[in-house]
């Protein structure tokens, strides 16, 4: 097991180096020099030369890359062109919002997806099974942002049950020690803020969770169908074990293996989808931050933000791989 983990960690090194090279090369690939990109309309030959000296852009490319690696290793992504604040500071403010949203979406999709897939498999070939297949097909065919718009129209605009934008009503006083608003409300014992931030979470979480929900339901159905026909399940039933016990201990537990991998693989989709969902609901997370950065041509923010998200994605996949090896001994050996 330790060898497996060490090997996976070593594989991480070329990926991370490649990523840094890609993101480093990307900013140099931009039309014009990065100095012009940084200065925008204020670019004059003098200011460009000054910026190039200041950022070491007049040095050879490998020296620049080495410098860049050093900065990134010290978690220094430079300053935002627009706000003049450090990218890392802004990242610390925005990231919890996205994590909160992604976790809520994951919660929705797992909570609904597994039972849905399980019931579909139990009723294989029946109307419920067909309905769940159609629903999951629709789920992966609806663009996240369109579902977000429809949900917002029905539940926020028409019915007025839930708020349309943001994370918390500005009328509610609240402190934010952790920047996770729901958690903050619990920590500070603020009941009103707790309810209000939960209400703000509902629609974005459902919209963002729709694709993982469909995928999880599909995989659960397939996995349960596979396991249901195994000899040990038949044996367990023949022994007269209570059907519910067979379902939970023999069927579902073994079916959870493929399901757990899929849940991990959905992180990338969640992070991509978050960009769009956040835009619809004006959710102040990484997504709206990055989209704003594109509009303002704020390259340090884009560079730092994309590198950060990619590293998070890589680490999550690593964790999924390792936890999968923990659950499934066969992986460890090979």
């Amino acid at each position: 097991m330790l060898r497996f983990v060490v090997r996976r960690l070593l594989l991480l090194v070329p990926i991370l180096l490649g990523l840094s090279l890609l993101v480093f090369g990307w900013i140099r690939w931009l039309p014009g020099s990065p100095a012009i990109a940084l200065l925008g309309e204020r670019a004059t030959p003098e200011t460009v030369a000054q910026i190039e000296r200041q950022y070491g852009l007049d040095r050879p490319i490998h020296v620049q890359y080495w410098r860049y690696l050093n900065n990134v290793a010290r978690a220094d992504f430079g300053d935002s062109i627009v706000t003049r604040r450090s990218v890392v500071t802004e990242l610390r403010e925005k990231f919890p919002a996205t994590i909160e949203l992604a976790l809520a979406a994951m919660f929705v999709s797992v909570l609904l997806g597994i039972p849905l897939g399980f019931i579909a498999a139990k009723r294989y070939g029946g109307p419920l099974d067909h309905a769940s297949l159609v629903a999951s097909l629709l789920g992966i065919s609806i663009p996240v942002f369109f579902l977000a718009i429809v949900l917002k129209y029905v539940f926020a605009v028409k019915l007025g049950w839930l708020p349309t934008v943001g994370r918390l009503s500005p009328l509610i006083p609240a402190e934010h020690p952790t920047k996770f608003y729901v958690l903050d409300a619990i920590v500070t014992g603020n009941g009103r803020a707790f309810l209000n931030s939960l209400k703000h979470l509902v629609l974005p979480a459902i919209a963002l969770g729709s694709i993982p929900l469909a995928v999880i339901a599909r995989i659960t159905r397939a996995a349960v169908l596979d396991v249901m026909n195994e000899d040990y399940v038949r044996t367990a039933r023949a022994k007269g074990i209570h059907p519910l016990l067979v379902d939970s201990r023999h069927v579902l537990r073994n079916a959870l293996l493929p399901i757990s991998t899929i849940i991990g693989l959905q992180t990338g989709l969640l992070l991509s989808g978050a960009v769009l969902t956040e835009t619809v609901f004006a959710w102040p997370g990484l997504g709206t931050w990055l989209v704003g950065a594109i509009e303002n041509r704020d390259y340090p923010v884009l560079q730092g933000g994309i590198l950060f998200v990619a590293v998070v994605f890589v680490l999550v996949n690593l964790l999924v791989d390792i936890s999968y090896a923990f659950i499934n001994p066969r992986i460890r050996v090979s």
């Binding site: 490649g18 890609l22 369109f146 605009v157 998200v309 990619a310 994605f313």
Partner: protein
Amino acid sequence: MSVAEVESRALELEAPSGLWPEAWRRLRRNPGAIVGFALVLAFALAAAFAPLIAPFDPLEGALEGRRISASPSWDHPFGLDQQGRDQLSRVIFGARYSLLIGVVSVTVGLSFGLVLGGIAGYLGGIVDSIVMRLMDVMLSIPGLLLAIGVVAALGPGLKEIMIAVGITNVPIFARLLRGSILAQKENDFVLAARAVGVPRRTILASHILPNAISPVIVQGTLALATAIIDVAGLGFLGLGPQDPATPEWGTMLTDTTRFLQTAPYLAIIPGCAIVLSVLGFNLIGDGLREALDPKLRGRA
């Protein structure tokens, strides 16, 4: 003539039907796939004959004395948008953009991906390692963010989002074809061909590729669905065609959240067009996957 051939003649054995005729036969019996084909065909026809079908000019707006943001009516079944343009005509012309962008971006991703995956899978060794590590790096950035990064570098626009979505597809196809080739390489018929001295290039072209290509076709169809969604997403974020008059479905959705209270149909109608076209490709892709699955061959 070999003994086997003589015997088979004597027995009047039927030639086994190939993979493709059989897959086609199974595909025709799959109701989901039929619905998928019908949807895609409808959008393809709308795209091809847009100037003939569309009742109005998709770009002609309120300047002609028409009202703005009118609800659906007899004259304008899908209503008028915030500039007074006929939504039905815009959705019909939009099919051109969305299908074209989808096909072009998948073709870009597919061709580069296939070349890279083919080289990596067949040559193996150090080439394989380098190419696949590069693909791993590309896959380590979530798809839409990679596309956003590319668009940020190239600048927004129609051609640019096609390239961006195409690039996100490259590693997916490269990985798929490489894996498929590796699996085929060890097959008995490939070993047999090598044993009798068939040249490497012929083995790759006539023994390995035809057998390795079916998962690529399935993935290609499903990638079309994803490409339409991603392109619409980029359009929605305002990274698509920079002329807001362009009737691209995603771009049409951009500003509509502001009008949800008064004109929800402005968002719902282009959105439904996206959903239906994506659904069509997904249905075909699923049908193809089932039809081409060798485990299911020979069954109804």
